[in-house]
């Protein structure tokens, strides 16, 4: 059927939209499952035809939305390699890093009618895997916080620093200690491959958390 290239920005935007929506749900779910915030602020909502937990706290929601809003242009241009949700303890040492490795095939082709429902199914599976990840991870110490890192190419990074996509929401180069974790265990969670998107989700976990 139709074969669109990356130049067809419209389709690139669609992929970025799908991915950013997914990342928003995934981040909320990670915060819920890893108990970064008390479960009282979460509420069941529906996404991809299954229930997911999303936070009701307006500032938290705004923060996550702003974050992804800035990430979206990078994804549109296929410049984002990884989006990482880092959970840090009270001393700001990372204890867990949820890494979403993203890649888009250079030639996006809509080859089937059921493409989007297939993608939805795959994303559903990733959500399910996040829900049960506490079986393979150790508990986090109390008082954790989180942050979102994006791994991208140098040029794009410089761009991001220069241009504030959202006012008063600057992006800065991450510290080395947030990016790399010593004594990390790698736990793969899920890989998904589809025509429009390839994503791998794994967790880097600190061997000793407390």
């Amino acid at each position: 059927m139709a074969t669109l290239t990356r130049q067809d920005l419209n389709f690139g935007q669609v992929v970025a939209d799908i991915l950013c929506e997914f990342l928003e749900v995934a981040i909320h779910l990670i915060l819920y499952v890893r108990e970064v915030y008390p479960s009282g602020i979460f509420q069941k909502r529906k996404k991809y035809n299954v229930p997911v937990q999303m936070s009701c706290h307006p500032e938290l929601n705004q923060y996550i939305q702003d974050t992804l809003h800035c990430v979206k242009p990078l994804i549109e241009k296929n410049e984002a390699e990884k989006v990482v949700v880092v959970i840090m303890d009270k001393e700001h040492h990372p204890v867990e890093r949820f890494v979403f490795e993203i890649s888009q095939p250079p030639l996006l082709s809509i080859s089937s009618e059921t493409l989007l429902s297939h993608v939805e199914q795959l994303l559903r599976a990733v959500i399910l895997k996040i829900s049960v990840c506490d079986a393979v991870l150790d508990n986090n110490p109390p008082g954790c916080t989180f942050t979102v890192l994006v791994h991208t190419r140098e040029a794009a990074a410089r761009n991001m620093e220069k241009v504030q996509v959202i006012k008063d929401f600057p992006w800065i180069v991450a510290d080395e200690q947030e990016v790399h974790m010593e004594e990390a265990k790698l736990i793969p969670l899920k890989t998904m491959t589809s025509d429009i998107l390839k994503m791998q989700l794994y967790v880097e976990e600190k061997t000793q958390k407390t």
């Binding site: 479960s39 399910l128 895997k129 829900s131 049960v132 079986a135």
Partner: protein
């Protein structure tokens, strides 16, 4: 049976870190659900005896009679193992307990249980009850002739609706309004229902429910239930928040209540026998509710037409005095009918129980977040009367314009407020033609 299944389950649970529900297991291994439940039980026993390695968690399905809010009801809930004894103690009579799922993870809430079954059921949609223990001989899919007839009827009385219907009020569990609500996804499972069963099953759970009243209603509903048994499962979707985390409960009223309300609603709509089945709701175990739930999402095309026709027929009886003759609008609606059905499909899957594209005032559960005196955020959920019109539609601008104009005319006769087109909350970022729901999230707050 040989013990290979134990290894299978072991692989699923430990190696793949899956949640193994009995329904998923039965569909995956191709065994009857009761066999699957026993398999899980044996597996659990064996692992617990060995008491080695990683701890396993299990959830159970408990059903029985209990008294809540002064009325007896049959309660079916999925509970975590640590709450099992407490829930059993609360019930007067425990009718059935069995393993619902086994997993390594300690689930904080019940959502993954539903997700696990979702895809498995979707794969086997046509025969997802092949291994089920709940059967109804009258429940067969409609033939194409009947489908057509139902669609035509839906067109003739398209826009009549109950005023009482889209009340998201959870309090009135007993008196279900005489209309089957559109299933609203997950919420449909939490609906309070009248327990009049039209499905017999071999399980012991069901035998509890059976008495004369139910049987009488069963015979009445049989001819009608052929049309769409799934709508029976979905009563008024109650916004009952589930407090105990992985605890789903489907509460039903039994016997006397259902009989009286059933007959009361029957009186209201005498000439239309079909409406009975719309009133009747069935008590079912979580499995069948889950199965039906997912089935229902697939059969969206069938459901709206049938249900609406029932509702509308009833409505026409009830509101005869108020209605100005509807024939002129009917003609207008006929032409864009195919697209309208398409719209209904996409719309029927709402969580806020809006049936078809309507513009009216209704009470909606809204959360309102504000900062109180101490500077802490407070989120209050309350019912607010709000003007609401359909949000998600297929992005077909032509049909939209046509539809809205025709609908507008038909609504003109109604006593409800007429909204301008501009107030339609269409989900703007609806780029994906196939899947309106993907983009809907940001608009649905």
């Amino acid at each position: 049976m040989d013990d290979l299944y134990l290894d299978n389950i072991d692989e699923f649970v430990h190696d793949q870190n899956k949640i193994v529900t009995y329904k998923w297991l039965s569909l995956t291994l191709g065994v009857h659900v009761n066999t699957a439940k026993q398999m899980l039980y044996h597996y659990l026993e064996q692992k617990r005896r060995e008491s080695s390695g990683t701890p396993l968690h299990a959830t159970y399905l408990v059903s029985g009679k209990c008294v809540e809010n002064g009325s007896t009801c049959h309660k079916v809930s999925v509970v975590r193992e640590d709450k099992l004894d407490a829930v059993k103690a609360k019930m007067d009579v425990t009718v059935s307990v069995h393993v619902y799922s086994v997993q390594r993870a300690e689930l904080k809430d019940s959502s993954p249980l539903y997700s696990t079954d979702y895809d498995a059921v979707k794969e086997n949609l046509k025969n997802c009850n092949k291994y089920s223990a709940i059967h109804c001989a009258a429940a067969v899919p409609m033939s194409s002739v009947e489908l057509q007839r139902a669609q035509e009827m839906a067109l003739v009385t398209p826009v009549e609706k109950e005023i009482s219907k889209p009340r998201l009020n959870e309090s009135t569990s007993a008196t279900s309004k005489p209309s089957a609500k559109q299933p609203t996804g997950i919420m449909g499972m939490f609906a309070s229902k009248n327990a009049s069963k039209s499905q017999e099953s071999s399980k012991e759970v069901k035998t509890e429910q059976k008495d004369d009243s139910a049987l009488v209603e069963t015979s009445k509903t049989k001819p009608a239930s052929k049309a769409n048994p799934m709508s029976n499962f979905f009563g008024k979707p109650s916004q009952k928040k589930v407090d105990e985390k992985p605890n789903k409960s489907v509460k039903e009223e039994t016997d006397g209540d259902s009989a009286t309300s059933g007959t009361a609603s029957i009186k209201k709509s005498q000439p239309s026998p079909k409406s009975e089945f719309a009133i009747k709701e069935e008590q079912s175990k979580m499995s069948s509710a889950l199965k039906v739930e997912s089935k229902d999402t697939r059969n969206k095309s069938k459901r709206p037409e049938v249900v609406d026709s029932d509702d509308e027929k009833m409505e026409s009886q009830q509101k005869k005095r108020r209605l100005v003759p509807d024939s002129p609008p009917v003609l207008n609606i006929r032409t864009p009918s195919p697209k309208k059905q398409v719209k209904r499909e996409s719309v029927s899957h709402k969580e806020e129980s809006s049936e078809v594209k309507r513009r009216k005032r209704r009470r909606v559960l809204k959360s309102h977040t504000f900062v109180d005196e101490e500077g802490s955020f407070v989120t209050e959920k309350g019912y607010v009367s709000e003007s609401y019109s359909e949000s998600e539609e297929e992005p077909e601008p032509n049909s939209q314009a046509k539809d809205s104009s025709s609908l507008k005319q038909s609504f003109g006769k109604r006593e409800e407020e007429k909204k301008e087109k501009s107030q339609k909350k269409t989900s703007a970022a609806n780029k994906l033609t196939k899947q309106p729901s993907i983009m809907g999230f940001f608009q649905k707050k």
